[in-house]
Symmetry: C2
Subunit: 658 residues, 2 copies
């Protein structure tokens, strides 16, 4: 029956791709069909009727180009997909888009760029370990584990070539995430042909060197061999990878060749496959017997597993405290309710403080009250100041803490946070702003999935004294702002930091917090409560509105000192608008906007970063007090003077334009 | 003498960092001092008086935070650095900036983000193999090798944690780059502390699995042990890594601790080191005997090696053809002289062609006439159409070809190209535009070093039918434009492609070429010759200038069809400006700009990408026919309609605003 069922799956993917009318990926759908069939029917602990069951096994299609295979397998397994959904593969508005999306019920994660899925699967595995540490009562009672799910991911040669998958694997090995099982479709053919000329390494030896258990399946068409390997992998005390030797496009005339990656099939190829497989000739024929077999096998196992777990959960409810039960119930919604505006945090208007340190104080308030708040840094927690004081580090075998040491693995950190957020957590991760360049694929995935992940970036401008151009961000702030659905906050002081976190935590948004290397003091006029408006008047004009300076971050303090100077020395009366979040400001009412930045005003923008995105606010580029060239090695003052944006220069420029 | 000399180096780095007055990296300077000392005095084949000698060994400081150590070693080795340069460490305008820069004579590459240097070192090693293949006459004559240099790189734990270093190592192993020697300062401490909790893998086993030779030095303070390992590494037929066990901050009171990464030293620590090392107490004291020893050792070896090579080169000049001699002489200048405007390329105004295919035809013209033109793709050469027809693939042991298969390693591809460009080549690399997100650190390094590297990105907008949002670029074009010193070209048709390559090749600039997935035909009105102006009138208005549409890339064709419709159906007379390169347009004279886009015109911008960067051209955001949200899975028409930028919608929007 295995082979018949596999043929039905393959046949469905063939019809889906052919019907979509555009280049598809028969190759991996045909090589991986036995793998997904085996996983879904024999191992994956899920409930297709309740796709968001909290203790389900997760499946991550890191090899995202096998989307048709995933949909076909899910459809046959009883997930909420109809045959019309299958027929609408890649069509606009369908439940079966070109690449897997969490908008489709039962798909655990949206995937696209290779390697991202692998890295997020590691985040999901870490999340499960955290849930175990938070809620399992195995040490304290006779109850078995409430949380005990595995995370499976299907990866291709391409996934493993990508650096992010190495970062993820090294981290998973170091932390001993034994609930992670990687299914490696080793078909040896990538888009450009055989991989041997550019990817000749011994993958299993490499993973072994990273503390993984490794398994090898010689015949990738044998469901029983694959199943045995998965069985063994589930029992290891380390993460596992199973290298499954397959043939790309197995069963097609061009099997073993890279053109199965991206071509439509000729009629004779379709005919020969359908005949050989005995799956009927009419497109979208689903043979009843094997289809029922798949569905019944998955569903019957699901019913048993799920009802056992429900009983267990009821027993747990008697043992857990009520907060914990609420938490578990809320995990899939990942809601947080906190009032930071009224947090008890002393504001010092007289002394400067590193903004990273201000943020550190806020982080600790949050960490001590929000159970699923968790975070760390890509090896820069001392610099970015994100260590949570009252919480332990997460290390091998010990997952009770809240501090994650990601190592120097920025891109992985982002993808890992996506996996954590998909599993009920509110993760933050920190690095230098310039290193956001290394995390772009992960950040974009955060935005695309609309996940409540917060990226904390420090050293956010050319004012990073003595760092030099390679470590001085210029274009990064505007680049992040240009990512759809990402909220970029650049708070001016500790009050705006509070307001920023208040917006982020209560609104469940993909967010960036950008902080300088420098010190500032709390400013009169700034406000935590107005951060949710995106911009507000932080320093009103005295008598007449000669001009407006829009400033962000630490430049707000500079703007306010310029305001005094301009009035006293030049009799120029300016209003200071702090704009901690351009995205939030853009969605305010026209009335509100007019009250802050009246039409026709002479408007300057002061931000030590790229002009891109600011041009819409100013009459002409002359009004942009921004930076569009690389910085330099030297002191802050030397660099600002070199870039013509020191205080004196700014005052002269404003005076000349008014 | 070894120890005395090492102490002098350490002492100099200490004084440099302390004198800079800002957080420094004593840690790695003190752990790696014996490594750099050994490399420079006993192995590195260079000529400090002629730092750009073409057959010199290359040294890449991937662990860029050891910059003080590099400068101190170079200074003592006789490179053109004065003691005042050493005293000016990190100061504005000095030859010793915070991170190594190629602007300092003798520094082979600017480095910053960890892992980048490693990856570029692989590019340099590949370049040497190419030079061997191009010019060595060992098979054809009795002459020994003209090119036979090695590439050394110093890496830290952090470098090896980064995904890009894995990508680079896997590639180097697959291609058998035996001229690459990685010196791994294995001090086990990164910025956040001991690495064992997050980086517990066996590094050498991992490299062994990738086809590398591995060596282990137990005592990192022993120059003779280090030297023996380097000696062995030079003889291998694979790339080599030497794991050298060291102690971070070796010799300081806080040795072995992460705080040596980033603190200034207390006086008692300085005193105890200087006393123990016997290096005098006055800052910047350079003990004569050990200093002379270093200099004499390096220089005497250099003189011999260099004069031998000069003799050999003279012998080669008799054997090589004159073109080859010119090429070798020009390699450090990396100049190209080609007239593509007059290239013999048939222009078809009647039939559509994939722009990737048009570019492919131009690439082949270039490859057949420019000797150092070389390129490939991150596993998408079939899709991006960059395979050079008349040239072989570069594979293990065979480096005569021009096609590079980078595997699915986008970020590495960028850094590798930087290494190739620094070694006399004109590399191009191709991928999908959305994957530029994975290459940002490498692209920024290209721009920062001003290297003649060309990134070819295809599938450059939401018009990628059926790809879905994860593969549809939105913000990428504007993000690339915002990188300082990067030229982003979005040609409209094959003529503009020709013009683009003509500008790139003859001007030696960091460049991006952005191409659509779709087909276009050559347009009347477009021009190869005007690409160097950045923008020009590609479709003049008929009688009166009602409005201007600035368009780029494949949208120029759309704009020209809209021009006809607007005139015929709405009596609106518009001018079409094609703007293949915003950066080049921005540096034209005001007169030229006024002739193309007269002040006060009603200006629209039509580009299927982010509005960021375009706002300065238009009266208000309403005039932007751009895309600021994620795309969708579906046909091109469905997606454009969903985003309100299909033809009908655009016409309505233009009509309403005029």
């Amino acid at each position: 029956m295995d082979q018949k069922a596999i043929n039905v799956i393959k046949n469905l993917t063939l019809d889906m791709i052919q019907n979509s009318g555009c280049e598809g990926n028969y190759g991996i759908c045909f090589s991986s069909a036995p793998i997904l069939y085996t996983l879904f029917t024999k191992h994956l602990n899920v409930n297709p009727s309740i796709p968001d069951w909290i203790n389900r096994d997760r499946f991550v299609l890191s090899a995202s180009h096998a989307s048709a295979l995933l949909y076909a397998t899910m459809f046959l397994s009883g997930y909420p997909l109809m045959i019309d959904d299958i027929k609408s593969f890649k069509k606009f508005g369908s439940k079966t888009p070109a690449y897997p999306s969490i908008n489709t019920m039962g798909v655990d994660i949206s995937t696209g760029p290779l390697g991202e899925g692998f890295a997020s699967a590691v985040g999901m595995a870490l999340a499960e370990k955290k849930l175990e540490a938070l809620y399992n009562q195995t040490g304290k009672s006779k109850l078995p584990k409430l949380f005990n799910y595995n995370v499976y991911t299907l990866v291709s040669d391409g996934d493993l070539m990508k650096g992010i998958s190495y970062e993820a694997a090294s981290f998973a090995g170091s932390l001993g995430l034994d609930n992670l099982i990687v299914l490696y479709d080793s078909n040896e053919v990538s888009s450009d042909g055989e991989v041997k000329n550019t990817f000749s390494e011994s993958v299993l030896s490499r993973f072994s060197a990273m503390g993984w258990s490794t398994f090898y399946v010689k015949n990738g068409n044998s469901s029983s061999e694959i199943s045995k390997a998965i069985e063994k992998a589930k029992k290891t005390k380390t993460p596992s990878i199973i290298q499954i030797k397959t043939i790309i496009g197995d069963g097609l005339l061009n099997q073993g060749k890279n053109i199965t990656h991206s071509q439509l099939l000729e009629k004779n190829d379709i005919d020969q496959f359908k005949q050989k497989a005995g799956v009927g000739t009419v497109p979208f024929t689903v043979l009843k017997e094997p289809a029922s077999y798949i569905r019944d096998t998955v569903v019957q196992r699901s019913i048993k597993i799920y009802s056992d777990w429900e009983k267990l959960y009821n027993d747990y409810k008697k043992v857990l405290n009520p907060n914990q039960v609420t938490e578990i119930n809320n995990i899939n919604q990942n809601l947080v309710n906190i009032d930071l505006i009224r947090a008890n945090l002393p504001i010092d208007y007289n002394n400067k403080e590193l903004m990273r340190e201000s943020n550190h104080r806020v982080l600790n308030i949050i960490a001590d009250s929000v159970y699923n708040f968790i975070g760390g840094s890509a090896d820069l927690s001392n610099i970015t100041r994100v260590r949570l004081n009252n919480h332990e580090d997460i290390v091998y075998g010990k997952y009770t803490g809240k501090n994650i040491n990601y190592g120097v693995r920025d891109n992985f950190m982002g993808a890992c946070m996506n996996g954590l957020a998909l599993s009920g957590f509110r993760p933050f991760g920190s690095s230098l702003l310039v290193y956001s360049d290394d995390m772009r694929e992960s950040i974009r995935a955060t935005a695309l999935m609309n996940l409540p992940v917060t990226y904390i970036f420090t050293h956010d401008s050319v004012t990073n004294s003595f760092d030099g151009p390679a470590h001085q961000p210029v274009e990064q702030l505007s680049n992040l702002r240009s990512i759809p659905n990402l909220y970029v906050f650049r708070p001016a002081d500790i009050k705006e930091i509070l307001g920023t976190w208040n917006v982020i935590l209560n609104n469940k948004i993909p967010a960036v917090i950008s902080l300088p290397r420098t010190e500032v003091k709390a400013e009169q006029g700034t406000s935590a409560g107005y951060v949710n408006k995106g911009a507000y008047v932080a320093g009103p004009e005295k008598n007449k509105l000669d001009a407006i300076i829009i400033a962000t971050g630490s430049e707000v303090q500079l703007a306010k000192s310029l305001q005094v100077k301009l009035l006293q020395e030049k009799n120029i009366d300016v209003r200071i608008v702090s704009m901690p979040c351009m995205e939030l400001y853009s969605i305010q009412s026209e009335d509100y906007k007019e009250s802050i930045i009246p039409t026709g005003s002479k408007i300057f923008v002061l931000e030590y970063g790229s002009s891109f995105g600011w041009e819409k606010f100013v009459p002409s580029s002359d009004y942009l007090l921004t930076v569009d060239s690389f910085g330099a090695s030297g002191s802050k003052d030397d660099v600002l003077s070199y870039l013509d944006i020191d205080s004196d220069n700014i005052i002269t420029r404003i005076e000349n334009l008014l």
